[in-house]
């Protein structure tokens, strides 16, 4: 188990309601509180529509909460934070830019120094096995490679907190496993705080220090699990009895909540 650092993010009593076009009010998220310690890898699992993505957007400052507040590094979050990196479900690469230019988009937006960022981009691309692809365009890459570029882009401006919204959701099972290993490698190399949203129980347990299990709409936190396995972890771990116990318990919890 990793040492929990000082508190990085504290979200208290988050609620998010939407008004539909028919005038009905939908509660996507209800009374959710979560805190992240510096350097911690925390996953959220839950059924579709449990407000996982909404929670991430609230933390990212893209969406405003209906109630509750988010404190990041001691400051109340009211707008998007430059100290956060976001990875979306799809890679969201810009097709008119090369891989390297895509990775450097945050540097351009944040008006940071380009030269050291380029060097860092090459290092990160190497870490995810994309050396030699710098000047390719996204359309020349496979889905898994594109998503890796998206992850590198989210890290390029050295954010303190990485928010990932089902980043491997669109990939095939084999690629997902490889991506999980790549993400672990990145995490061990950088020790960012990661807030990882997934509907894969296996992925959550494999990658995390802590797994938060959520219920279906309105999204609530059902239970939290602390995952004690030492790192680096490999996929043999997933067939051990201890790992299986965690996975089973989480699955039962979700099964009691709703069909996943």
């Amino acid at each position: 188990m990793s040492e929990a650092g000082p508190l990085l993010l504290d979200a208290r009593g988050l609620r998010k309601q939407y008004d539909t076009r028919e005038g009905a009010r939908i509660t996507a998220l209800e009374e959710v509180s979560v805190s992240l310690a510096d350097g911690e890898f925390v996953s959220v699992v839950g059924p579709s529509g449990c407000g996982k993505s909404t929670m991430m957007k609230l933390i990212a400052g893209i969406v405003k909460p209906s109630a509750g507040e988010i404190i990041y590094r001691g400051q109340v979050v009211t707008r998007a934070q430059r100290g956060m990196g976001v990875v979306f479900q799809s890679p969201v690469l810009l097709p008119w830019l090369t891989v390297l230019e895509n990775v450097l988009v945050p540097i351009r937006v944040l008006r940071m120094d380009r030269a050291p960022a380029s060097a860092r981009a090459r290092e990160l691309l190497e870490l995810v096995g994309l050396t030699g692809f710098e000047s390719k365009y996204p359309s020349e890459l496979s889905g898994g490679m594109q998503q890796r570029v998206g992850i590198v882009r989210s890290l390029i401006h050295d954010p303190g907190l990485l928010l990932m919204d089902e980043p491997f959701g669109a990939l095939d099972a084999l690629t997902r496993e490889r991506m999980s290993l790549a993400l672990q490698r990145i995490w061990l190399a950088n020790r960012k705080t990661v807030f990882f949203i997934t509907h894969s129980i296996l992925e959550a347990v494999f990658l995390s220090d802590r797994v938060i299990v959520m219920s279906a709409r309105p999204g609530r936190i059902l239970q939290e699990f602390t995952i004690p396995f030492p790192r680096p972890r490999d996929f043999d771990l997933t067939s051990t009895a201890e790992f299986g116990d965690f996975a089973r318990e989480i699955r039962h919890l979700l099964g009691a909540s709703v069909d996943v």
Partner: protein, 264 residues
């Protein structure tokens, strides 16, 4: 390469067949020359018009250059105006709410009907032609660009929102390139309409231009001459469209691939 050669071959064959039918029709029906001139007469007029002294009014080049200058200026003004207004309307909802009814109203108006007014306002030189050309080019560009600015992937906007990007950054780095394929769709229509606008203005009243030449030839029933100019205009239009396509390919090279790989 082989496929291209075969295409060119059949194109030539079909052209010969069409000209053959044309000639046969005239021989069989005895249609007078001023109704349907024989292909040979059209060819003769074409060669005469193209080889005449380029500074004389009989030269097709002399007339066409003036029409094309008006077309390009009109296209430039209409294109820049269309994209700019679309951008402003997409960025500021209020402007869109106020202006959109006028756009719809103008769009429903047969715009060539404004041409006589332009002649009154701007005279018989280049200005009314450019104005008419710009007016016709403006609307397809505006409407396509508006659609382009509105239909931007939500994920792209959220990526930039997560970086707290400024409005200007969002516009330049995301909205403009995302809208580029549709802007070009509008420009491809715009260039054709620009040529149409210039010729319409020349019909109404101008000193010089292909439209002027057509009306002059028409007044003396020189049908073969009119046909020759139509051939020239078809070629000119084809060249303009081809240039636009090449520009599009260059600037929007990613267009074919701009669909998310996991759109499923």
């Amino acid at each position: 390469m082989k496929a291209r050669l075969r295409e060119a071959f059949w194109l030539l064959v079909s052209a010969f067949v069409a000209i053959g039918i044309w000639q046969t029709l005239i021989s069989l029906t005895g249609l007078p020359k001023y109704v349907l001139p024989p292909p040979g007469a059209v060819w003769h007029e074409l060669v005469a018009g193209l080889t005449a002294d380029p500074s004389s009014r009989a030269s097709i080049w002399y007339q066409l250059s003036d029409t094309l200058v008006a077309t390009l200026w009109g296209f430039l003004l209409g294109g820049v105006g269309g994209v700019s207004l679309a951008a402003v309307m997409a960025e500021f909802r209020f402007v869109q709410k106020v202006l959109f009814p006028y756009v719809v109203g103008f769009q429903s108006l047969p715009k060539v009907a404004i041409a006589p007014l332009y002649v009154i306002w701007f005279g018989y030189e280049m200005e009314p032609k450019v104005a008419m050309s710009a007016t016709l080019a403006f609307f397809p560009v505006l409407l396509n660009a508006m659609q382009g600015f509105v239909a931007i992937e939500r994920d792209r906007m959220e990526l930039f929102a997560s970086l707290d990007a400024s409005r200007w950054q969002r516009f330049v780095m995301i909205k403009l390139p995302s809208a580029a394929p549709l802007i070009f769709a509008g420009l491809n229509l715009g260039i054709v309409y620009a040529l149409l606008g210039a010729i319409v203005a020349e019909f109404i009243g101008a000193q010089r231009g292909v439209g002027v030449l057509i009306t002059q030839l028409q007044s003396v029933s020189d049908t073969a001459g009119v046909f020759a100019i139509l051939v020239v205009l078809a070629v000119a239009g084809y060249v303009l469209i081809t240039v636009m396509r090449l520009l599009q390919k260059h600037f929007v090279f990613w267009q074919a691939s701009d669909t998310p790989p996991d759109a499923s």
